[in-house]
């Protein structure tokens, strides 16, 4: 589990060649804007009937992402997530529909992964986050104490919108799924104002492609390749991709306090893989990418093979490649 994907930024290269600029529909205006939200740069490129209309649509989409962040950030002490984290151990807490939906989906990922994906991991995350910023590594006693707090099965959902925790020290961290939900919501806002062809990029870690560029069948997206030799890519249309990767190992230290924590051992996950997942929605790709990184290729491939419309690739710096394709086909431009 991670506290956010900021450090594990996807190195994604997307290149859309129109052949020549003359092939672009003259009616479509391309507008691009970026905004700093959720600790990263969100970018939207959208085609619309006029620049003004498209710009307004993008502004509305950004407002929606800001709204989602206001609800789900655990850096805002007065927001709904923080209130839930403070109060749900004592009584049922009514939460906004957004929050309920995301937590419900996160629990599904926890069940699918038998607890490897777990949004209750915040107490462990906080310990390791301190280590990342220069504190001593957590002691075994601290880790043991934090581990007793966590466990997705201790979250009780009462439809339509009540949540209670059966742990005195549990806290939720939606960093592994929140950006995915935010790009989905932004996409819905764009669609509601007749923007059909757009590309939403949440800091490189999650991307939602709506429609396609004028004159093209899909958006061509080059995926994260730590080996710089394999060059995986995909044609993306009305789908999302997300990438997860552990923090790079320390150059001067002996032990890395990585940002993705394996709740089963209470420590940062040790893996050299970067995982990219293609799925129908941002929330799905976002949740799956962390889940599959934690599960590793063997268990991960089995999970993908039982899930429709999802494909995944594990890629190491030494060009070890593992794939599972039960959805869009991942192609390769380099050496395999």
């Amino acid at each position: 589990m991670r506290f956010d994907k900021r450090v594990a930024a996807t190195l994604v290269v997307l290149f859309v060649s129109f052949g020549s600029s003359g092939q672009i529909s003259e009616k479509k205006h391309l507008v691009y804007r970026q905004k700093y939200i959720m600790g990263t740069v969100f970018e939207i490129a959208a085609y619309g009937e006029s620049s003004e209309q498209t710009l307004n649509a993008i502004d509305k989409a950004f407002q929606e992402i800001v709204r989602v962040d206001d609800v789900m950030s655990n850096y805002k002490p007065e927001n709904e997530l923080s209130t839930l984290n403070r109060s749900a151990q004592y009584h049922r807490v009514k939460v906004p529909q957004d929050l309920y939906r995301v937590i419900e989906q996160a629990i599904q990922f926890s069940k699918m992964s038998e607890g490897k994906f777990d949004i209750t991991v915040a107490p462990l995350v906080n310990l390791w986050k301190s280590a990342l910023s220069g504190d001593a590594l957590p002691s075994p006693a601290q880790l043991h104490e934090a581990q007793t707090c966590i466990g997705y099965e201790k979250i009780e959902l009462t439809p339509p919108d009540y949540i209670m925790f059966h742990s005195r020290c549990m806290q939720l961290d939606l960093g592994a799924i929140g950006k995915g939900y935010a790009v989905d919501r932004a996409g819905e806002v764009l669609a509601s104002v007749q923007i059909q062809d757009a590309f939403i990029n949440a800091g490189g870690s999650t991307i939602l492609a709506m429609g396609s560029p004028p004159g093209q069948a899909a958006w061509l997206v080059h995926l994260r390749d730590p080996s710089h030799t394999v060059d995986p890519y995909i044609m993306l249309k009305d789908e999302s991709i997300s990438t997860s990767e552990q923090t790079a190992p320390s150059l001067l230290g002996s032990e890395s306090a990585g940002h993705i924590i394996d709740p089963s051992i209470g420590r940062p996950l040790e893996t050299h893989f970067a995982v990219t997942v293609v799925a129908p929605s941002g929330m799905m790709s976002d949740g799956f990418s962390t889940t599959l990184l934690l599960l590793g290729p063997t268990q991960g491939k089995a999970l993908v093979n039982h899930t429709s419309n999802v494909s995944a690739i594990w890629l190491s710096p030494k060009a070890q490649v593992e794939t599972a394709m039960n959805g869009p086909k991942i192609l390769f431009g380099g050496k395999l």
Partner: protein
Amino acid sequence: MSKETSRATGAAFAKTLLLLLIIPASAWSSVFVRWSISELPPTSSLGVSDVVFLWKQGLSPVLAAARKQGYRVYIEVPIREAAAAAEQADKTGCSGIVLDLSESETTTLESDARKLRSAYSHLRFLILNPNGKQPDMRGSLIIKRDSVLEVSSPTAQPWIDTNLALIKVEQRSRHVQVPLYTFSWVDEGQQRTRTADDYSLAIAEAGAFRSDLVLPLEEHLQRGLTLNDAEAWALWKQVRSILRFSRDASTDRLEPAANVAVVVDHLDAGDEVLNLLSRHNIPFQVFMGSDLKGEKLQGFDILIVFARPDEETADRINSLATRGKTVVVVDAHGKSPWQSSQPVQVNEHTTSYIVGNGKVLELSEPVTDPETFAQDVRRLLGKRNALLSLWNGLTTIAVPYKDRREKLTTLELVNYAVEPVRVQVQLKGSFTSIRYESAEHGCCESLVPIKHDEFTEFVIPELRVAGRVHLGSE
């Protein structure tokens, strides 16, 4: 930096003159506007007195007209044409020459500049580093020419293009001059008009980092300002507030505070390690290998040595470590005095030696991942030696300044997102008064300091482009 005031008049003149008399040279940064058309708006409206024209034949009438309007006029020229430009500048009463530094000319630049200064003693000769970047918070999606889209994320998000590393390098390479740099606007095929925010960020950055800037002004903006276009002036009005703010920087002689020393053999402003140290708000100062032989490095907690140590400097490193410093020797090979201590293999490429009260870490290869290296340096500093820490400051770069008594007195902040953020700051030291100044709200709002151990924390409620914190202690 000397300031001519001969064209100013009235009360403004008197005030300016007074300031010039009491303020030490290099106390503030200056913005030079690069101008390319033949007419200029009045200097009082532009709010900038220094204009720079690129050297070309037949420039004299334009220079003369600009001078007549009260501008201090500079000619920007490559060193090989500097003598001819100086001749013309001399005849037309220009204030100085801006020598455009290019890589091939760096070896003779200083001596050439010295000769020119001696031949034209009343002209200022400033050395310009043209390799600055457009300051920016960059996403990974870039719109390219011909509507081709490209996404590429060079490192962790958000990516900040900052000139702080370049300025640090310039500070070491040129002692006689405040760093002066310029940059080109990045187009990436977007064919986008520069906004007030773009200009403001560039000015704020130079001001906060105490550097001089040659600001490239788009030609259509120059025309708009000259022709009294309302839209152009609305934009420039916003820019002027940042110009004022940057000019109002502390008038004390302040020095950037740093507790990390980076020692190099070659000054390279493009070095990614320096860029990443800047991005991670690790206060550092750049030194040359020869500086190890002096006493300059005594006040630093961590030394990062990229320079290849000779026998004398290796002894010096050993001595600094003995006295409690942490020294990281990068791409280390061969025998060194600290190797007589018991080695501890930290990881595949790093060996640690405890030396007296400190330690030496030998990294056996060059830095392969500057982002991780910068994070490692922050970890090595630990909480106890962290001069500066920011929360919610991923888009913010801050530089602390100290006075002659080595006390922190000012913190300058630049927010590359150019949107209001609430930033939590922790500074080493005990401060009783925290006053926050910004371009938008002026000076000053009192902030509540929270002291714990050896540190003071406070929250900046709204940082948009640039902010300045005045620190007071009993």
